[in-house]
Point group: D2
Chain length 233, copies 4
Amino acid sequence: MSTRLEEIKKTIKDTWQEVLSNNMAAHLVAEGNFDERFYKLYLLETYHYTFHNARNQALVGARVDNQNIHYIKYCFKHAYEEVGHELMALHDLRQMGTQTPVEKFPSPLPETKTLIAYLYHISQRGNPLGRLGYSAWAEDSYEHFGPFLQRIQSKLNLTKAQMSFFVEHAVVDDKHADQVMKAIESYCKTDEDWEAVAEVAVTSLKLASGLLNAVAREYLKLQKGESDRYSFL
Amino acid sequence: MSTRLEEIKKTIKDTWQEVLSNNMAAHLVAEGNFDERFYKLYLLETYHYTFHNARNQALVGARVDNQNIHYIKYCFKHAYEEVGHELMALHDLRQMGTQTPVEKFPSPLPETKTLIAYLYHISQRGNPLGRLGYSAWAEDSYEHFGPFLQRIQSKLNLTKAQMSFFVEHAVVDDKHADQVMKAIESYCKTDEDWEAVAEVAVTSLKLASGLLNAVAREYLKLQKGESDRYSFL
Amino acid sequence: MSTRLEEIKKTIKDTWQEVLSNNMAAHLVAEGNFDERFYKLYLLETYHYTFHNARNQALVGARVDNQNIHYIKYCFKHAYEEVGHELMALHDLRQMGTQTPVEKFPSPLPETKTLIAYLYHISQRGNPLGRLGYSAWAEDSYEHFGPFLQRIQSKLNLTKAQMSFFVEHAVVDDKHADQVMKAIESYCKTDEDWEAVAEVAVTSLKLASGLLNAVAREYLKLQKGESDRYSFL
Amino acid sequence: MSTRLEEIKKTIKDTWQEVLSNNMAAHLVAEGNFDERFYKLYLLETYHYTFHNARNQALVGARVDNQNIHYIKYCFKHAYEEVGHELMALHDLRQMGTQTPVEKFPSPLPETKTLIAYLYHISQRGNPLGRLGYSAWAEDSYEHFGPFLQRIQSKLNLTKAQMSFFVEHAVVDDKHADQVMKAIESYCKTDEDWEAVAEVAVTSLKLASGLLNAVAREYLKLQKGESDRYSFL
């Protein structure tokens, strides 16, 4: 592995530690002050942003200024593999007992929209290689994110069938994670390319942490009866 | 095969006959009044529009209003398979002896731009299923277009290596052609869907015929010394 | 006026003569073989493409690679002035007695879609100055197109209120025409800019002629009872 | 003024108080721990996001699903008026003595990119009325933001010519502010419209506060010699 890739992995690791140590949802889960509505709310927001992942991935390959044939192939292959992953989050939500039809879901929280917005922006207008930075942590999150998920699972006695998105998905993504690292190493040529990957990795992980914070905030409002936006969960 | 698919196949067949009987390039080739510059000019324009095919195909899958998971997967898979096919046309042009670097190629002819424009438009703003109509004839053109190509091959004594785009590609596309027909049958649900496929099939085939006409027009100008735009060929 | 602008004006004039002498609708009108359904069909297609004119004009100004502040201002001002002009075509259609609600209009004819597609394509992906070539003839068409419209008016005894799009609009556009010519002269710097303007002028005028042909074709089908797609007119 | 508009104004006011009381840059300025490099860094990021404001505003009007003629006109008029405002920020930067050419500017900070990304996203894919929520605070910020700017001005002894973006601009925007409020009241019809405006107002103001925080963070790194990314300022 090249030094630059090592640096990116290190940066991602550090960012995970930073975001988890400051994250309200992480504290809430560590302290066990939550019930299944917290998990459902998180699944809902996960459904919302995952809906766009294959789409923004494909847009990178469709750019006229992306002329690296191998990278374009990577983009479409990866987009293909990501199609419909939002349905796993939806499946888990159904397994948790929420039957509200999709059309009646509240729209994504502002923080979820911001993550979605950022991924479209860097996919359509940033350095075409930038989006690899998102995949670099998203496809390999179980190492860092696992303990958080395990606490949720154990506290709520969740079955595997209720955690398909976060658990099975994580295993599938293991292979993806390798491919992402190889892609970064193959396609990044200039300093600007490497910096774009690193910047998108850090920024999108922080925005995902913001999403998690927002889930905790909304959950607390729901718990305290201050809002009924998510009372259907 | 459903009646509606039969109708589309019949419509495509009829359109082929109509366009070939009226096409200036088809007449020129039938009469043998051409040299290798005609073929090179055709390869050049083929290079130009093929550059966009995987891209506009992927854009169909990336649309937020395309929510048929199977069809989205089809779009990204097909986009993946089409990546870089313009390089076959470029390869053939190189085999024909044209070494001009790509950056120095004249921009696409207006008729080529019109075909490109139309495919982006129907991919981004039309009925999402419409683009299948383009694939329906483009992936299965050898039956109708073969005699035209064979006359070029025989007159110019072309080797297989000089016809990779039109010949090898055609064989590869045979499998695609089946997949396209199955896709049309699986994904079209409403009358509007079927009509969109039929309309895009006919319109894009006519625009491709317009491109061929334009190639003939430019070739005749070159032959008569009225233009030096393509004198590098 | 610069020599290059004179050349563009000459090119537009020649293209008008070429398209009008070959146009089926022009012949039909010259021979008087039409009734008001022909005019209504033309208004309908005019409504369809005009709906997109302000939009594609604005997209030129919104491009990140368009960095000429004066030209961007021109684009947004011109877009502003073009907003809602499709309602004039709709108004005239209503004055002609067609009350079918907009949602029930048949979709644009393929040739109309091709014109719309081309204008979006050159606005979003071509040389940013190219779209001035469309305005160059569209805002100054009365000189060439007037006799055609006058024959329609006189044969059908149309009132001013039934011709607001083509007549009043033409007067308003007179000022626009001057502004367009000034814009071309001010913003075109390179050979490529001038060629883009000339190419878009010729190509979009030919596509508009194709639209007119398609109107004639559909009218004849309607007249002969071969199609009921436009029987509501 | 309608109750709903009052509520939006109140929400914006509260958000201002919240963001200013938590903002690192606001604290830094209140305590006077800064020199002119802080102001220059802020001008630089302001230049970056303002570059996109007229563009994303115009995109709202260009949407095919935005069919309110009056609102479309508003969008293009407002886009027209915003064209080139980034040059005021650039002018002020030049007046402060930074002559580095634009092409050599570091790319926008991640927080600046996030604001830009969000504005494109809500303009292109959100409720078309949402972007009015951004204008609602951005065109009327002097009331809340004035004291912050005044402290900068007084500490650095800035002339009017060095504050054209934030001061003159603010005066021009006074008229805009009225127009924005009228636009919100005229065009919002449904609950969803009003909620979109409120959500975009709050979210974009928070993202702008994040941008300001990032400016403070980078300034502190520069001050402590931990980074030379902005040493050209």
